[in-house]
């Protein structure tokens, strides 16, 4: 009888890392991808996608494909696009490795979502900040650098009314302050000196078009504006193989830099729909400044708030399969201190200013103008 009772238990399935699958057919590739997502994707409790229904629908479809035929590989790629179309993770990108897909665009559901926004517009070119803002707004009163190896550029300076302005297109500030070129180190130091300059009346950090980067920059940048640690939200990660196995919410805080003083003047961050990841996290940290002097101006951000690192550190996030060099996805979930998860939605500004494209084309930047107006008040 005891043996009979034990036999009532379900069997433990054997699950392997997606990278370990021996893929000789599309059935195996599908299993590797589906299980990889099932176990590593961190947004299942807020995501509308019925991942079990995806399994039921697509398993037989993949079984009909031949992994050695280019046309079937391309067909499979359309299936992957459909399967992942509604994932909320706005970091989510499928980067294929197969030669048959070299001319295919990466699968990026967030960009499709952005394109459906009523305020959708094109990406403001880097040259605008590097040339127009530096010359026309800052009057060349500042510094600018560009790294030709990776396209990283930074612009900082003071306006005629002593507003300290800073724009950069990727978060790599801490690294560049330590290991960058002399010009980069000087530029970053110029900005941090400006924060403590009594003549500076306010600070504008322009994060439009900023694609994110190193998490270490959060404390490096925002830690310069506070003399005490403060919370702006919470993160959680997976702690088991089940879709809903999570750690508790863990406080996400800004830690002050050594010697930092509380910044009590206005700090204004400009965001747009191309402010991604660390740019969004920085906007959150700005809004949550303890003194209430941080404001976010511009557009709702891209919507990729979840911190991202290698899978092994937090038992979730990015992985690869035979067909994909990388399934690029967040390692953790982040919620703002109001309790809302803005993943897939975008962090909303305090002052909404949609880019007036026609004006912009004629040389007026209504978002920067509004931010400077607030900064000059």
């Amino acid at each position: 009888m005891v043996m009979g009772l034990v036999s009532c238990q379900k069997e433990l399935p054997d699950l392997e890392q997606p990278e370990q699958y021996i893929v000789g057919s599309f059935s195996e590739e599908f299993e590797a991808f589906w299980n990889g997502m099932n176990n590593n994707y961190v947004f299942w409790d807020v995501d509308p996608t019925d991942w079990d229904a995806v399994y039921t629908k697509y398993k037989p479809l993949f079984a009909r494909l031949n992994i050695n035929k280019d046309e079937d590989i391309r067909k499979a790629y359309t299936y992957y696009r459909e399967m992942t179309a509604n994932l909320v993770d706005s970091h989510y990108t499928l980067i294929p490795s197969n030669n048959a897909l070299l001319d295919s665009a990466t699968i990026n559901p967030a960009y499709k979502r952005i394109q459906k926004r009523s305020d959708f517009h094109g990406f403001i070119s880097e040259g605008y900040y590097y040339n127009n803002v530096f010359v026309n707004i800052l009057g060349r009163n500042g510094l600018r650098t560009v790294d030709s190896t990776d396209g990283a550029y930074m612009v900082t300076g003071k306006t005629s009314t002593n507003v300290l302005y800073f724009h950069f297109n990727q978060f790599d500030l801490k690294n560049r302050s330590e290991n960058g070129t002399l010009a980069e180190r000087q530029l970053i130091q110029y900005f941090f000196n400006g924060i403590n300059d009594n003549s500076v009346r306010s600070v504008v950090i322009d994060l439009r078009g900023n694609g994110g980067g190193n998490l270490a920059d959060l404390n490096f940048l925002m830690g310069a504006f506070t003399d005490k640690s403060y919370s702006f939200g919470a993160t959680r990660s997976k702690n088991g193989p089940g879709r809903l196995d999570y750690t508790p919410w863990i406080d996400a805080s800004v830690t002050p830099k050594a010697g930092a003083r509380a910044f009590t003047k206005p700090l204004i961050v400009i965001t747009d729909q191309y402010s991604v990841s660390m740019a969004e996290i920085t906007a959150m940290a700005t809004k949550a400044l303890p003194g209430g002097n941080g404001r976010v101006v511009g557009e709702r951000t891209w919507g990729a708030n979840g911190p991202l690192t290698s899978n092994v550190f937090y038992n979730g996030g990015q992985f690869s399969t035979a067909l994909f060099n990388l399934v690029y996805t967040s390692s953790q979930m982040l919620r703002y201190k109001d309790g809302v998860v803005y993943e897939g939605v975008g962090f909303p500004p305090d002052v909404t200013v949609t880019l007036n494209v026609l004006q912009f084309q004629s040389g007026r930047d209504n978002q920067l103008e509004r931010a400077l107006t607030l900064a000059n008040q």
């Binding site: 009772l5 238990q9 997606p18 099932n38 993160t235 193989p241 879709r243 406080d251 800004v254 550190f313």
Partner: protein, 249 residues
């Protein structure tokens, strides 16, 4: 599964012969180790580990034969486990302290002398996962520990990131958590009769037959509690035990 469980209860009831019956009730307490029968799937450097807990109960016995009683032990019991990361991630863990209100129902088979007896318990149980607590340490992704030199080496992730310690109530997830547990039990022990008191020591094993999770996803790895308990207790007999000569007439 339900049929087998019902059959076991039915067998107990058929054996119950009221002409010989007497009631005993008492108290018991025990220390246990719970093993979560599961695996961590493809998670790197992650293990499920047993944790210790305790139980307290009120055993109620209904003696049917000299050698057989029916026993129920309404009890409070912890079934704890730990999710632990290993090697480079040593120090990152979560203790899951899970409390159950449990009703074991069993056949109690005795053998041996008048005062010192051995016994075996065999039966089933139903329990309700009434509350949970989680405590542990996780790495805080936004909290870097600054290196002291360019040549500093690292042996633990918690040397790179500050740990975040927590100790809080577990919030049940309706979609996932199966709070009703059914299972079987087996126990063995010895008892000593002193006047109307019966003192006992018992080792008991609880095996869950139901997954701790609802069936909420394909390729779900089930989780079954396996609880090893060592307990002591005392029963008080409410009615005088009839002599064998009287009961045979």
């Amino acid at each position: 599964m339900k049929n087998k469980f019902t059959g076991l209860l039915f067998l107990m009831m058929v054996l119950a012969f009221p002409g010989y019956a007497q009631w005993s009730a008492g108290i018991e307490a025990g220390y246990n180790q719970n093993v979560l029968y599961t695996n961590a799937g493809a998670l790197a450097f992650t293990k499920y580990r047993p944790l210790n807990g305790f139980s307290v109960g009120i055993p109620v016995q209904y003696q049917v034969k000299d050698w057989f009683s029916i026993q129920a032990d309404p009890q409070f019991i912890q079934k704890n486990y730990q999710v632990k990361r290993t090697q480079f991630f040593e120090g990152i863990y979560q203790d899951n302290i899970n409390s159950y209100v449990q009703l074991p129902l069993m056949g109690h088979f005795t053998f041996g002398g008048e005062k010192l007896k051995g016994f075996l318990n065999l039966g089933g149980y139903a329990s309700y996962w009434s509350m949970g607590r989680i405590k542990g340490v996780q790495a805080n992704i936004f909290s870097d520990i600054e290196s002291t030199s360019d040549t500093q080496e690292y042996n633990r992730y918690l040397e790179l990131k500050n740990g975040y310690a927590y100790n809080e109530s577990y919030t049940f997830i309706d979609r996932k958590d199966n709070r009703v547990e059914l299972g079987w039990l087996a126990g063995a022990g010895v008892s000593y009769q002193y006047k109307k008191y019966q003192f006992f020591v018992e080792g008991r094993y609880y095996q869950s037959m139901t997954d701790q999770q609802k069936d909420y996803m394909i390729n779900q790895i089930p989780r079954y509690n396996q609880t090893y308990t060592a307990q002591i207790g005392c029963l008080y007999q409410f009615a005088k035990k009839p002599k064998k000569s009287e009961s045979s007439n």
